[in-house]
Symmetry: C2
Subunit: 482 residues, 2 copies
Amino acid sequence: MIQFPYRPRWLSRSLLCAMLPAALCLQPSVASEFEEEDLRIARELRELALTRNGGFDVVEDLTTRIGPRMAGTEADARAVAWGEALLNDLGFDRVWLQPVTFPTWHRNLEVARIVSPVEFNFAALALGFSPATPAGGVEAEVVMFDDLDALEAADPTEVEGRIVFVRNRMERSRDGSTYGPAVRARSVGAQLAAQKGGVAYMIRSIGTSTNRFAHTGTQRFDVGVRSLPAVAISNPDADHLERLVAGDEPVRLHIEVDAEYVEAYTSHNVIGEITGSEMPEQIVALGAHLDSWDVGTGALDDGAGIAIITEAARLIMQREERPKRSIHVIYFAAEEIGLWGGRVWAEEHNQAGTMPNVQLGAESDFGAGPIYAISARVSDEAWPVIQAIQAELAPLGIELGGRSASGGPDFIPAAPFGMAAVDLRQDGTHYFDYHHTENDTLDKIDPEQLAQNAAAYAVLAWLSAQSPISFGSGPGLINQSR
Amino acid sequence: MIQFPYRPRWLSRSLLCAMLPAALCLQPSVASEFEEEDLRIARELRELALTRNGGFDVVEDLTTRIGPRMAGTEADARAVAWGEALLNDLGFDRVWLQPVTFPTWHRNLEVARIVSPVEFNFAALALGFSPATPAGGVEAEVVMFDDLDALEAADPTEVEGRIVFVRNRMERSRDGSTYGPAVRARSVGAQLAAQKGGVAYMIRSIGTSTNRFAHTGTQRFDVGVRSLPAVAISNPDADHLERLVAGDEPVRLHIEVDAEYVEAYTSHNVIGEITGSEMPEQIVALGAHLDSWDVGTGALDDGAGIAIITEAARLIMQREERPKRSIHVIYFAAEEIGLWGGRVWAEEHNQAGTMPNVQLGAESDFGAGPIYAISARVSDEAWPVIQAIQAELAPLGIELGGRSASGGPDFIPAAPFGMAAVDLRQDGTHYFDYHHTENDTLDKIDPEQLAQNAAAYAVLAWLSAQSPISFGSGPGLINQSR
């Protein structure tokens, strides 16, 4: 392996190679091997990050000065302006907006209560894209199902004219893997209940909190397909309803929803670039989403992610050394209601033919719990680089994960185009106690855990930018799963 | 010490003494010594209680079939009927209602929000006896004070025309001693702010929850004294407001309250008696309150207390042996808004001259946390009996506390009449996470902890009923404090 210990700063290995006959410019014998200086800088970034607040100032400002910022609201526009100003203030080399157009939905009112045998008001939230009830609401007897499979199996005569309640409970898990199976009841249940003749739809919240917070979230929205007014009630309220349904008397509910469907609104992805010194066209893409639900202040979802990637980039920008590849910080638009920002970003790279330039996509969108593993969808050749990066993350308690990764929700649309992706997997044990509820507020973020996240993203971004090889974005990674 | 090991059941020690010349009927050398059989029964009660659910069925039924039951509402009347039916069904020897008349208050609406510099809706609850705002609410700049002392010290020119916000935070404690100092801001703050010319009053909730639940509760209500519309906001919301107040711009709030004052409503204490076999006129008075706040389902406050004392009495009633003294289970009315049930109970005993017959008053009204100590306000002669009772409670993890006790909120009005009182002190570390919030629901009760409570009350009630001596209610205990 050739070393250039006395090489001047401006004389990079790639520039040197360009100046020499190819045979003389041997690649390092191990392609994954980072230059010592790059490793030293990664370690310094990591240690410095742990002495700081992880970008808590960023999420504090976002949640306090903007607050909830549902896609398509006035606050969405203020958040975009906030993000653009922040990235400019921080000294990114380039900052730009990428228009994103999407349908959206606004909540005006939701009421859900037991009418008989005993009156009781639920803690409830309408689900995203719920149609409104007639003014004054609907009242009907409830029919309860254990889960969506039971509803699917039900005879329509059981459902007709009833309010359908699906009671399945989301279990707690570190990796969040219990969310997917449970959330189907939210995503597609109302359409199914409509097909069977129900008059309204209600679910136990898809969350692990034992507090009286209902969990909202989007539903599959198919233009022209009939759906039902749909609400979620909190876990304690679902327990309460189940106790009454278990009794002898029929249980009648009243549900009222007022909400509006908005056909098209244009928001923006906000993108800041630290321009690479040697391969500026190559992009290390760090993402988080700027929009939130309309309840709470979107602190964990996804103010934390905004803070983490911003702090990681800020740490790198504060050094004299520039990364070889460009680093992009992307504040995605309208994630919550359909990954719209991610779709636009992926489509534009695909159409421009620049997806192979994306070294990796990695989004922080799972709260502020500590990262415990790194997984990656990269080429076989690049996997040793990921292993080398993990070695620098190990002091943060981060293990080597597997070879499948999505990169996070907003990078899912890039998967069909073969984008390399890295997941820094966070401990989500408590994430679903707050996710999509009124209770997702700043105080739920632990600055020390936030700093661990920022440290990991700084190391990942820096070393990915300095990597001796590409991570392999392109057709070879499409549908790759190991 | 004289033992009557072969004495027939019907021949009690006191009856025997009445039949013999006084000199022959020696008192036991240690007045506190229980008969072996009484101790054996106490131990059996204790052990059996731990195998049961502590009365969870009772609080489950109360919270589910009645739900919230604010004093003076339709649900209050349903709760009284529920309680009367329950005590009759359980086979109490006598069950009766004691009318209790009081002023009350009903919440219709509360809205509290930041208008500028950034709009934000608070999680808020009006405080009990808050007057209404004018329709449409009031809007004004906020002035923030660290605590009530700071408000007291403030020059009226700081307050005039403003919405007053007092930000003091209740700290967590096992014994709940941090509640009293903090709650003054709720009890008397609005009247003070009115005197200084404020237009509305707002506090940080008097609770320890970090969730977005506001804490309601009563305020001092003096007829004819001007007060202000008053609300509490949750801890995270108070943090949010403080962050904005710390900024450069003035912060304007909007508060709207609609509520009604009700001059007089008559509810009832519900009382069940296990009639004593030897001293039926002597009363072991176990209390809990049947009313709750109008938010949540009053599970911890005070459905748990209702469950605990009911289960303790049920355990005793299920035995063949009868207690020597009578045991009263009292479901007090209208505790939350002014200890009205307790006042009537105390006054009636006082006027009837029967307070000296009250062996003790002990109310369970601090949730369902485990009991860790027994304290008592009893005569010097009776203190060794309390020590002997504590010895039987020790296997439950209950230590001997001190010689001051209130008996619980509803027995406070009996203190001026010299009632002996026992406190079974519960661990309240988490009580103020739920107290007086929407989140006080059944799932917050741990049946095992509830059973520990029921075990302790069963042992206390049984041994107090069998005690060889009176605990000393009467003039000698007035204002006694050690």
